[in-house]
Symmetry: C2
Subunit: 253 residues, 2 copies
Amino acid sequence: MAKIISIANQKGGVGKTTTAVNLSTSIAVTERRVLLVDIDPQANATTGLGGKAHENIYDVLIGNADIEEIIVPTEISYLFLVPSSLSLVGAEVELVDMEDRESILKSKIDGVRGDYDYIFIDSPPSLGLLTINGLVAANSVLIPIQCEFYAMEGLSRLFSTINRIRNSLNPGLDIEGILFTMLDMRPLLSREVRGEVEKHFKDRVFKASIPRNIRLAEAPSFGKPALLYDVKSKGARAYFELAEEFLSRNEKN
Amino acid sequence: MAKIISIANQKGGVGKTTTAVNLSTSIAVTERRVLLVDIDPQANATTGLGGKAHENIYDVLIGNADIEEIIVPTEISYLFLVPSSLSLVGAEVELVDMEDRESILKSKIDGVRGDYDYIFIDSPPSLGLLTINGLVAANSVLIPIQCEFYAMEGLSRLFSTINRIRNSLNPGLDIEGILFTMLDMRPLLSREVRGEVEKHFKDRVFKASIPRNIRLAEAPSFGKPALLYDVKSKGARAYFELAEEFLSRNEKN
Ligand SMILES: Nc1ncnc2c1ncn2[C@@H]1O[C@H](COP(=O)(O)OP(=O)(O)OP(=O)(O)O)[C@@H](O)[C@H]1O
Ligand SMILES: Nc1ncnc2c1ncn2[C@@H]1O[C@H](COP(=O)(O)OP(=O)(O)OP(=O)(O)O)[C@@H](O)[C@H]1O
Ligand SMILES: [Mg+2]
Ligand SMILES: [Mg+2]
């Protein structure tokens, strides 16, 4: 039975997609079966893995198709992808009138949980219906954060949304961890924000953090995760360390 | 009659808010009357100018109040603010069933156009109903972009949305310009992306560009634009140069 992890933060540009692509790859290379579900209409995780945005996830959500039919392989043997669709923007409006509109994705994903060890969901930069569907379907949520003021501001709203979902549709929703991304420890602002977050969230902060590293920004233009684009890069190594920490937390028993 | 400029790009974290706050400030210090309307539920532009998120814009959009009643002054004498509201997230769902749902903001803003020289609108990172309301109300759209792959990917979708709006509700919607933000010209990727954008968009790209500068990220934690926080900083100077170029394009007659 796969564990399902939503990667979410409504603040834009904090490294959700970069984390989704590189963490799922780093786990797949250890020969665990991984599925990445891209529910962001921007379809960045889809192109970051060399895939093509396809109408299908839209059809699945509004009920015309099953999720098995739209899963595609990637260049990494144990990693599979549910590609996003540009018409997902319209889906938010259409889902509104559907029954159980917040748990549609959950009912679709449950059908394939048996085929994977881990399922990651990349979310758009919003707390709208698509992100909520991801949080309702998930066992836990991984929160990438930049050490900057605006990114900090949004955290309390993200946590109140998580608590709302925990108290209603998904009582088992856990915090997988808070991940510092694009970390540059030189500016005082970064050190201050990092200190605040560690004080407040204690052991829910991953020990691994991701440095700012240009190879992570270059890799998507080749449709490859950093591990395939430049395995020696600081960025690829940081995500591999994150994968090791993630696996040791989830497979310790 | 004010010119209305929407600042939009569905890609997250490209500097929409930083541009909205610092460009509007740089114009206001030249004693032109400026209004900044924050329609992003994150309310970053509101706090970046030292304001407080307030329920009111929500009441204005669903019809219970007038925009004049919710305009607040800022620390900068000629700059005024329409604060955002956290419940705007819910507004996208409520606006869906309203008549003329895409031009509600326009009808509200038209009432105050006579009081200002320029009105800027900060948008959320999406192409949903809030951003569309901003594009329908605007005379032109200013597009901040980072020189990175994912940011480039979204441009064609942004332009197809702009064209759709131009062909329906707002035939006069113009491109104010494309602005390079967080620009670091060292990586090859940045130079390649910049070259592509300049080749494709030619004179619609601002000559001014904004370098990556930590003072721009620090200023919001003090609720101040960079011009007030550190007027000598590269970031503040770059936005002042942008303001000069913006004004020379708009007031040449
Ligand atoms: N550690 C890093 N070092 C350098 N660049 C990075 C790093 N992580 C992400 N980036 C780049 O920063 C930009 C933002 O990252 P990304 O797109 O992953 O964020 P996101 O949270 O998914 O954005 P959105 O909110 O639009 O979905 C991208 O261009 C990406 O390539
Ligand atoms: N030129 C710059 N140099 C350094 N940091 C910057 C610069 N411009 C913006 N930032 C920082 O980068 C982050 C993203 O910028 P900002 O929040 O303005 O983008 P946005 O497009 O409004 O994001 P969102 O999509 O979430 O609305 C912020 O933390 C901001 O302080
Ligand atoms: Mg993303
Ligand atoms: Mg913003």
